[in-house]
């Protein structure tokens, strides 16, 4: 088991002293090498799930396991990336990719070798000495993926990594991410609000309800070419799956 949530509830205390339940009694499992997407309305606690997996904060009730270890804090098993690339603007690309390795006792020359290898895998060879501002948005996200993969995580968490990109860049980047991820065989949890993105990229989709978020549906995507969303995209079944998710989200009732 790569990732498991066991009846996880997370409450926050707001500034006014009120209790806010972000996610309520969530349980799910992600198998090794699986690509699972989490979709849901905005504010349903999608990012809370990610933060608890990364160990940035603890659940109020319940337990999170990564590779059969109880998550008690930031850990080496998990690499995450956000909508923002979070590249350090004062570092060139290769030093950015090395960033995650620096506090983990990896020797300098090995850091450089691993970073260069990841850059090559993410098709960024030749850009290692560029600074983030010199790259396009899509290239910056690929650099962020290289940094995430460089720490050799067992799980990759993607929190809406494509949502700030224009439509065409998005398609190309989804394709390149999917290729890289299936090449590495990493277990991946993708958090997204884009229904077709979830269908194109995943093996399985978890649909969350509105806050407090609970899992309302689990949809297995039975389509080939997970490693190449551009090929999946033209399949007629894709829209059926999207429609199915759409129904679970009860979006029609809200469209007035």
């Amino acid at each position: 088991m790569a990732l498991e949530f066991r009846s996880v509830t997370k409450e926050f205390t707001t500034g006014t002293g009120q209790n806010l339940v972000a996610v309520n009694d969530i349980s799910f499992r992600v198998n090794e090498g699986e690509f699972v997407s989490v979709v849901g309305p905005s504010g349903c606690g999608k990012s809370t799930i990610l933060s608890m997996t990364a160990g940035l904060y603890q659940p109020t009730r319940g337990e999170v396991f990564v590779s059969d270890d109880l998550v008690g804090g930031p850990n080496a098993h998990v690499g995450f990336m956000l909508q923002k690339d979070l590249l350090l603007p004062w570092r060139d690309i290769v030093s950015n990719v090395e960033f995650g390795l620096e506090a983990r006792g990896v020797a300098k020359s090995e850091r450089r070798d691993r970073a260069m290898a990841e850059l090559k895998r993410c098709q960024l060879s030749g850009f290692e000495n560029h600074y983030p501002y010199q790259l396009s948005g899509g290239m910056r996200q690929r650099a962020a993926l290289a940094r995430t993969l460089a720490i050799k995580p067992e799980i990759v968490l993607l929190d809406e990594p494509f949502s700030a990109l224009d439509a065409q860049t998005k398609l190309l980047l989804q394709n390149s991410f999917a290729g890289t991820i299936s090449q590495t065989g990493k277990t991946t949890l993708l958090i997204t609000h884009d229904l077709s993105e979830a269908v194109l990229m995943s093996d399985r989709i978890l649909v969350l309800s509105e806050r407090p978020g609970t899992v309302v549906a689990e949809i297995k995507v039975d389509l080939p070419h997970r490693e190449e969303p551009l090929r999946r995209r033209v399949m007629p079944e894709v829209s059926d799956y999207a429609a199915q998710i759409f129904k679970h989200l009860k979006l029609e009732e809200k469209a007035i």
Partner: protein, 270 residues
């Protein structure tokens, strides 16, 4: 080959032309002001002790160099400007970073910091003279005090606005508190620190000048009060010009450093 080499040269030419044009226009303006300064006051019958001409000032500069030890005064002022600037901005930056790391102390101290920031620092000069006497201590303290706040406030402000997600990323990568400061917070705040230093550099000259005006017998500030007492306007003018030069040099050095340190920012300034 001719065409290949010609294209970029053509693109670069207008940029260089505008640069040269602005420089020429600046110089022309300077010449105009100097000419007006030289010829307008005599033409309007303004006496020399009110507005001395350019040549009067130059002559006085030469006399001061020979008889008043102008070089020593200038170097003394420059030294205390740089010294006060260095000490004040170091203190401001260190305390800014410390407060930036502790929300509790920042909240406790912020009203007093604000009060001290508003208080006119130069007004402390007579107090410092009472406490430390007529030596270089008062002017150094005034300078340190006046430099301290813009640096502190800029650093503090920047520490508050460091991207939380970046800090979380560093935490997820197992960086220690010190590691996060060194690798994320400190570099994130550099643009603000540099902006604070630039403001502080112009204030440093004011601090030293006031310190020298109020007490002491060295420095350009002293020459201003000495020249003023003798109704020697040319001396005052010369001292002001030299003070400006000192401040300008310090500022230019800082801008150069900033360009090097912040090379990774897309060119937006200038």
């Amino acid at each position: 080959m001719e065409a290949g080499a010609g294209a970029p040269a053509k693109a670069a030419k207008p940029a260089m032309n505008t640069q040269r044009n602005t420089f020429l226009a600046s110089m022309a303006l300077l010449a105009l002001v100097l000419l007006a300064w030289q010829f307008l006051p005599p033409a309007l019958d303004v006496p020399k002790f009110i507005i001395p001409t350019v040549t009067d000032c130059l002559a006085e500069m030469k006399r001061m160099w020979v008889q008043e030890g102008l070089l020593g005064h200038t170097l003394s002022t420059a030294l205390y400007t740089v010294l006060g600037f260095a000490i004040g901005s170091l203190l401001g930056a260190v305390i800014g970073y410390l407060l930036g790391m502790s929300e509790f102390w920042e909240k406790v101290l912020s009203p007093y910091i604000l009060a001290l920031q508003i208080a006119p620092k130069v007004a402390f000069a007579p107090l410092f003279i009472m406490w430390f006497g007529y030596n270089s201590m008062p002017k150094l303290l005034v300078t340190v005090l006046i430099v301290f706040f813009p640096v502190l406030v800029n650093v503090l402000q920047a520490m508050r606005t460091v991207d939380r997600d970046l800090v979380n990323l560093a935490r997820a990568y197992n960086l220690s508190r010190w590691g996060i400061f060194l690798k994320v917070e400190m570099p994130s705040t550099l643009p603000n620190l540099m902006a604070g230093l630039r403001i502080a550099s112009t204030l440093a000259v004011i601090g030293v000048t006031v310190g020298e005006l109020v007490g002491g017998n060295t420095g350009l500030g002293f020459l201003i009060s000495y020249g003023g007492g003798q109704a020697n306007a040319a001396m005052v003018f010369d001292a002001i010009v030299l003070l400006t030069v000192i401040g300008f040099l310090l500022y230019t050095v800082l801008v150069r450093i900033e360009e090097r340190v912040l090379h990774y920012l897309p060119k937006a300034q200038q």
